[in-house]
């Protein structure tokens, strides 16, 4: 670890913190339906969409209707991506002549993109046409992100409303999020990325004659427009196979810094939106502090582990940390930081190969995802995931003093706690259950690229990433097989929607309750005690759930590495 490395980490944190308030202020206005400086331009377009779609923007929806609308929207999105992939050979914008994508891979990819996972069993430049990249993937990057934020809004409204049956209008939330938040930022962001060197063209791949006379085919495409939303919407599905490690997908150290900031920007700002909407910004900062504590701890461990290097490198007197699977322009620190950021949020873009990280350095991304991606988290999804943990924490605090727990004016009762537990329990069921199957079935075992405990970690990482809707991978695992395409799709689907439905049920049930002003006996939820309690609950619930699995993978591998054992 170096001083300049830590300065880069502190700089990153400072910029994210500085963005929380202004972005939170702007997004609050957008979702309260107030005028913004973009309204003169966008309001006519917004109205046009409602008019064609038959949406009455003043009619609000019951939580069930809101959820059904969201699900229907995803059925359409799924059909669109699946159809485009199967038909890409006969559709335009296909200069590389890509052929139709196989059924199971198309199925997996379509589920992957509607769930905001963006798991890459597809190869990007070697599999997909420009049309699929734009119309299939770029559009779903916007819409799955907008959906996440819309759902977070519905849950926040559950807390802020009193004795009401509705939680907002899904179509209005999705449209406003796309038009007022995501699209304007992406337009500016795309131009920045192109300036840094990212291609944005519909032209065919270029054949170059190298200095030594060899032939090199250079894949190109409309990269920047997709990468902008891929990062901002915490999607993470790469244009290229190597994702944000590819020099075209992340050309410079500056583009790398901005990409990391954009992964966190909206998720961090949503804590402020929450605070503003419940009438006390300190409630938002308390949640942000919980995330911050867990994040900094993760960065410290990964950076330390990667800077330390591996026993293989030490054996040959190689210093400078573990550079296998990392790019020179990012080095150890920006690669370690990126890995923690991308898994803390549910982004899943990678600028280094996590499979080649040290055992402990690679364990932190795994833990981040297993905690449910609540450290900033996916746009929207991170906030509702964190609020579920807050409900459990408040419940635990209530048990300790023998008083009905309250949070921002709402009594937390049996129904909320049951739903919160359901959401928390379904995740380990998926990633631990499928991992158990994956390490037993011979055809699944054949997909492992590394032997020994590392192979086990590859499988555990895949299902954790899928269930958590992250999308990053220990990419050595051959995921493009019938077994993994189908089981990962299952994990992604359950991980997304079995989290959403309980969260929405909580939103509906909270909205119907009366609000109570805080009294002398109310547990304050803006102070250090609350932050400590939530961190403790997260670590204990998480630790009890997945520590045994980690012991079989990264922990035993770390011990083996220190004993110079190779597999």
């Amino acid at each position: 670890m170096t001083v300049i490395g830590w300065i880069q980490i502190i700089l990153f944190c400072a910029i994210v913190i500085a963005l929380v308030k202004p972005l939170g202020w702007y997004m609050t206005r957008v979702f309260n339906g107030e005028r913004t400086f973009l309204s003169p331009m966008l309001r006519p377009l917004e109205r046009g969409i409602y008019w064609v779609g038959g949406v009455d923007e003043r009619r609000e929806q019951h939580w069930l209707t809101y959820t059904v609308a969201m699900l229907l929207f995803h059925v359409g999105g799924f059909a669109l991506i699946y159809g485009l992939m199967r038909l890409q050979a006969v559709l335009p914008f296909n200069p590389a002549g890509q052929t139709a994508v196989a059924e199971d891979l198309s199925f997996n990819t379509a589920i992957s993109f509607i769930t905001n996972t963006n798991w890459q069993n597809y190869g990007g430049e070697s599999t997909l046409s420009y049309l699929v990249q734009m119309l299939g993937l770029t559009h779903q990057n916007f819409l799955s992100a907008a959906t996440g934020i819309a759902l977070a809004m519905a849950l926040i409204r559950g807390f802020t409303r009193s004795s009401m049956r509705t939680v907002g209008n899904f179509w209005v939330d999705v449209t406003r999020c796309t038009l007022y938040v995501l699209l304007p930022i992406c337009i500016v962001y795309t131009l920045f990325l192109v300036w840094q060197g990212m291609p944005q063209t519909l032209g065919a791949y270029v054949d170059a004659t190298t200095l030594e006379g060899g032939k090199q085919t250079i894949a190109l495409g409309p990269v920047a427009s997709q990468v902008a939303i891929k990062m901002l919407g915490t999607n993470g599905g790469g244009f290229f196979n190597a994702n944000a490690a590819h020099p075209f997908e992340n050309p410079t150290a500056l583009s790398n810094l901005v990409q990391m900031i954009s992964i966190f920007a909206l998720g961090a700002a949503l804590t402020n939106v929450f605070g503003r909407m419940v009438g006390n910004q300190r409630q938002g900062w308390a949640i942000f502090a919980v995330m911050g504590v867990l994040f900094v701890a993760g960065v410290a461990v990964t950076y330390w582990a990667e800077a330390n290097g591996t026993s293989i490198l030490h054996a040959f007197d190689l210093t400078g940390g573990n550079m296998e699977g990392k790019e020179v322009r990012f080095g150890i620190v920006a690669s370690s930081l990126f890995a923690v950021v991308t898994t803390a949020a549910s982004c899943g873009a990678v600028n280094a190969m996590h499979d080649s990280f040290t055992a402990l350095g690679g364990m932190i991304p795994l833990i981040n995802m297993q905690l449910g991606e609540i450290i900033i988290g996916g746009v929207g999804a991170g906030l509702y995931g964190m609020l579920i943990f807050v409900i459990i924490s408040i419940f635990v605090a209530g048990l300790m003093v023998g008083r009905t727990p309250e949070y921002v004016g709402k009594k937390i009762e049996a129904r909320e706690v049951k739903m919160a537990m359901l959401a928390i329990l379904v995740l380990p069921l998926m990633y631990l259950g499928w991992t158990a199957v994956g390490v037993v079935l011979p055809s699944a075992v054949a997909s492992m690229a590394n032997a020994g405990p590392h192979g086990f970690t590859e499988v555990l990482y895949a299902y954790t990433s899928g269930t958590g809707n992250n999308g990053s991978a220990f990419a050595g695992l051959t995921g493009n097989t019938l077994f993994y395409n189908l089981t990962l799709a299952c994990a992604m689907f359950v991980g997304r929607f079995f989290m959403i439905v309980p969260a929405m049920a909580i939103a509906g049930s909270l909205a119907e309750k009366k609000s109570h002003p805080p009294s002398a006996g109310t547990f304050p939820t803006t102070g250090g005690l609350f932050v400590g309690l939530v961190v403790g609950v997260i670590v204990i619930i998480g630790g009890l759930t997945f520590f045994p699995a980690l012991a079989l993978g990264p922990i035993v591998e770390h011990l083996a590495m220190n004993a110079n054992t190779l597999f």
């Binding site: 196979n241 050309p251 020994g452």
Partner: protein, 201 residues
Amino acid sequence: MLREIRPAILVLVLLTAITGLAYPLAMTAIAGVIFPKQAQGSLIEKDGKVVGSALIGQEFKEEKYFHGRPSATVAPDPNDSTKTVPAPYNAANSGGSNLGPTSKALNDRVKEDVEKLKAENPTASVPVDLVTTSASGLDPDISPDAALFQVPRVAKARSMSEDAVRELVTQNTQGRFAGVIGEPRVNVLALNLALDAAKAK
């Protein structure tokens, strides 16, 4: 609930048209005007022919050129399409080795590369980036140490003085952005082009 079906189709179609077609196509048009070079992939031409991209590494094996990092990219096996064969710096199929920290295969590869480099320059210590594959397999850069390590070989192959070659390395070394962000690096293709140009003079 049935009345949600119409917006589910039409709002989806409209938002898809905006975000999936209008947005990327408009950005392509605008970027092509403002940043035409970057938008096309930062291609480098020499004597009217494309010799590569400034951002994409390419394979160098000859002694007179600086070498980039090992690359783990592959290509489909021409004899059996279900298999792949090594194809370093394949810019149409990026990827890393994905070998883990306790991998025997990684150990063997590093061992072989270290021995080769030690034979070439026994006095200097081997820079780690010259024996590790990059994440993309297309890393255009090496560390300044890795470039300086190769100076004796290149100078000998070109019958140039080591000082002259070292001077070119220094000229082609990029520092951190704003002195803080990223890592110092040397773009291998740019350095080799500079070497060829120096010879032409």
